[in-house]
C-alpha cells in the first residue's frame, strides 16, 4: 500500500444517531478525520461550508420529508463545493437514482447500499476513492444495469470474464483493484479492459471515474 499522503476529512449525515456513530468510529479507525456529523441535510450543507471536507457520507432519507433529501444535498454540494466528494447511502438502491446522480459526471460521487458499511474494508476504500475524486457505484445497481433484458443484448459479444471485469469497472474500481478482486495480474485485467472497449466500440479511458461514466453511458443507452 502507498503511504498516506494526507488524512481524509469526512462529514457524516444520517438521522440515525447510532449508525452515524458507528460509521464515524469505523472511518476514524481507518485513519480518517470525521470533521462533522449532521442529522439532516440543512445542517450538513452548513457544516460542509464551514469545514470544507474532502468527502461527505450522506443518507438518502433524512428529515424533514424523509424522501430524497440526501440526493438533493449531494447535487448541491457538487455544485457549490466541487472539491468535496459525496457518497450517498441508501436503504434501497435504484438505477434511476444512480443515473440521476451521475447525470453530470461520476467524479467525486458514490452511491452505495447502506448494508455495505458492514464490509468495513471495502466501505472504507469506497469512501477514500470518492474523497480522492473517484467513483463508487453499488454492485447491485451495476448488476441490474448489466442484467437488463434487451432485445439485442449489446453485451453479447463479451466473454463471461469480460462481463465480470465490466461490472467491476462500473463500480468504480481501478485496474489494480479489479486484479486484486479477481486474483489475476494487473496485466491480464488491462488486456480484458482493452478487449471490452474494442468490442463495445468505446473510447478507451485511463482514469477510473471516466471509465465509470463511459460504462454507465453505454449501459443507459
Amino acid at each position: 500500500m502507498p503511504v498516506e499522503e494526507k488524512t481524509l476529512r469526512v462529514a457524516l449525515a444520517d438521522d440515525q444517531m447510532l449508525l452515524r456513530a458507528g460509521i464515524a468510529r469505523l472511518l476514524e479507525d481507518a485513519g480518517m478525520d470525521v470533521v462533522a456529523q449532521s442529522a439532516d441535510a440543512e445542517d450538513l450543507l452548513r457544516k460542509v461550508g464551514a469545514h470544507k471536507p474532502d468527502v461527505c457520507v450522506v443518507d438518502v432519507r433524512m428529515p424533514p420529508t424523509h424522501t430524497d433529501e440526501g440526493l438533493r444535498a449531494a447535487a448541491e454540494i457538487r455544485a457549490t463545493h466541487p472539491g468535496t466528494g459525496v457518497l450517498v447511502l441508501s436503504q434501497y438502491v435504484e438505477e434511476a437514482y444512480a443515473l440521476e446522480l451521475f447525470a453530470d459526471g461520476a467524479d467525486g460521487l458514490g452511491y452505495l447500499l447502506k448494508d455495505r458499511v458492514a464490509d468495513l474494508d471495502r466501505f472504507v476504500e469506497s469512501v477514500k476513492r470518492v474523497g480522492e475524486g473517484g467513483s463508487a457505484l453499488d454492485p447491485e445497481v451495476v448488476g441490474r444495469l448489466l442484467g437488463r433484458r434487451r432485445r439485442e443484448d449489446p453485451l453479447a459479444p463479451l466473454s463471461p470474464r469480460e462481463r465480470e471485469v465490466l461490472g467491476l469497472m462500473a463500480e468504480g474500481r481501478s485496474n489494480s483493484g479489479i486484479a486484486e478482486h479477481l486474483v489475476v495480474t494487473e496485466r491480464a485485467v488491462e488486456k480484458h479492459v482493452t478487449s471490452i472497449f474494442t468490442k463495445l466500440s468505446l473510447t478507451p479511458a485511463s482514469e477510473d471515474h471516466r471509465r465509470v461514466l463511459a460504462v454507465l453511458t453505454y449501459l443507459r443507452s
Partner: protein, 584 residues
Amino acid sequence: MIGLKRALALLGALGAVLTVLGVLIALNTEHIDGKIPLAFFSAAIMGSYIGVGLSAWWRRPRNRIGALMTAAGFSAFFLPLSAANSSLFYTIGATLGSIGYIIVAHLVLAFPTGRLETASQRRLIAASYALGIGAPLLFLMFEGDCDCDSVDGPRSAFLITESPGFIRILDPVVGLLGVTLTALMVRVLVRRWRAATPHARRALAPVLWTGTLLVATLLFTLAFDALGDMTDEAESVVDLVGIIVVTAVPYAYVLGLARSRSWRAEAMTDVVAGLGGARSDLQAVLTDALGDPSLEVAYWLPERGVHVGADGLPVLLPAADDPLRSATDVRRDGVLVGALIHDRALCDEPDILAAVANGAALALDHQRLDAELRARVEELRESRQRILEVGLAERRRLERDLHDGAQQRLVSLSLQLGLVTQQLDRGGTDAARELLDGARGEARAALEDLRELARGIHPAVLTDRGLGPALEALADRATVPVDLQGLPDERLPWAVEAAAYFVVSESLTNVAKYARATHAEVRVGREHGWALVEVADDGVGGADPSSGSGLRGLADRLAALDGRLEIESAEGRGTTVRARIPCR
C-alpha cells in the same frame, strides 16, 4: 259563510232589480238612437258580470276577482243611466259611465289572484280611476250640452259655466292621458303573458287575451277621440266591438276556469297513463303532466335523512322563500316518500300539484327504493375508493416503519459485527466483547420493532386465540385502565373478529392520544345476529369522525361488512365508539 251567502244573495237581488231598471231607462230614452241595443247590452253586461262575479265570489271568497267582477257589473248600470231623460240622472250616469271599463281593466290586470302585484300597477290603476271619474266631471262642469243623438237632450246638472276654450284644451289632454294609461296597461298584459309558464297560460289565456283586446279597443277609441276625426260609422263599429269584448270578459273567466279544471283532469290522465304504460321515466311523465320542463323528482331516504335525485346523489330542496323554485312533498299513506321540485308558478295550482303528487306517490315510492339502491352503490363506490387509499397509506406507513426501525437496526448491527471482526483481527478481545453487547442490543431492538409491526398488521393472538384474548392483550398495553365486559368465548367469523379488534385498537389509540381519559370500558355483545362492540372513555369528548382518517377508515372497514359505526362525543362528556357488525 251563511253571512256571506246571504249578503251575496242580497247583492244578486239588487243586481236583478238594477238590471231591469237599466233596461227600462234604456227603452225610455229620448236622446239616444239605439234604444234596443243599449237595453240589450246593458242587460247582458250587468247580468253576466254580476252573475259570474257573485258565483266566483261565493266559491273563492278570498280571491278578489269575484268582487271586482260584481262591482264592474253594478257599474254597468251607469251606461243606461246616462241615457236617462232626467238631467240629474243623466249627469250622474255620464260622470260614472267609464268606471265600469276601468274596473274591468283593473280585473284583467289583477287576474288571476285579484290583487295587483306591484306598486306601479297599483299606481296605474289608481290614476285610471282618477282620470275615468275626473275627466267626465270636468267636461260636465264646463260644457252644458249633452253628447247625444238629439238636440234637446238633457243638460249637465253640474254645469258651472260654459267654457268652450277650456274644453278645447281639456279634450286633447284627457285623450293623451287616456292613451298613455291604456298603453301602459297593454304593456303590463304583454309582460304578464310572456312571464307565464305554459301551464299558467292555459288558465290565463282567455282572460288575458280578452282583456288585452278590450284595452286595445279602448286605446284605439281614445286615440281617435284625441285626433278628433273618426266617422260616425267607424265610431259605432268600434263601440260595438268594445261592448262585445266587455261582455265577453266574464265568459272568458269561466272558460279559463274550465280549461284549468280540464287541464287538471288531463294532467292526472297523463300521469296514470304514463305510469301505467311502457314509460318508466317518472320524471318525464310528471314533466309532461305538469307542463314544467324544469321539474325534478327527489326521493326521500329516511335512513340518511336526505333527498337524492335519480342518480343517487343528494339533492337540496329549494328554500321556502326561493323566488323561482318550490318543492311539494309526496306522501304515500301519510309517509314522506319524496318531493317534486318545480317552478314556483305551479304553486298557483295547489290542487293540481296535490293531485299529481298523489297519483305519482306509488311509482315514486318504488323508484325511491331504486334511488336508495343507487345511493348505496354510490356510497359503496366511495367507500371502496377510500379503503383502497387507506390500504395504500397503510403500506407507505409500513415501509416507513420498516425503514426507520428494523432495517436501520440491522444495518447498524451488521456494522458492529464488522467492527467486532476488525477488533478480533487486531487482538482486541475486550473491545470486541463490548461491541458484541451493543450488537445484541441492536438485534433485540430490531426484533422488538418487527414484533410491534407484525402486531399492527395482524395480531397473531387474534388469529390463534380469537377476539377475547386479543382484546385482553390490547387492554394490557393500553395507557389507561380498561374494563373488559362480555368477551365472547366462541370464535366469530374472522372478518368480524378483525373488524371488532381494530375498532377497539383504534379507539384505545385515540383514547391515549386525544381523550385525556382516566378510564375506558370495552363492551362486546351479540344480539339478533349482530356483533356489538363499544368503547367508552371518560375523557374530554369532542371527537369529530369526519376529520382524521382513523375513524373514517374504521367506518369504511365496517361498511364493507354491512356494519355501522356510531360515535357519541359531546364536548366534555367522554367519547363512545359503537360498532354493529352483522354476524351470520
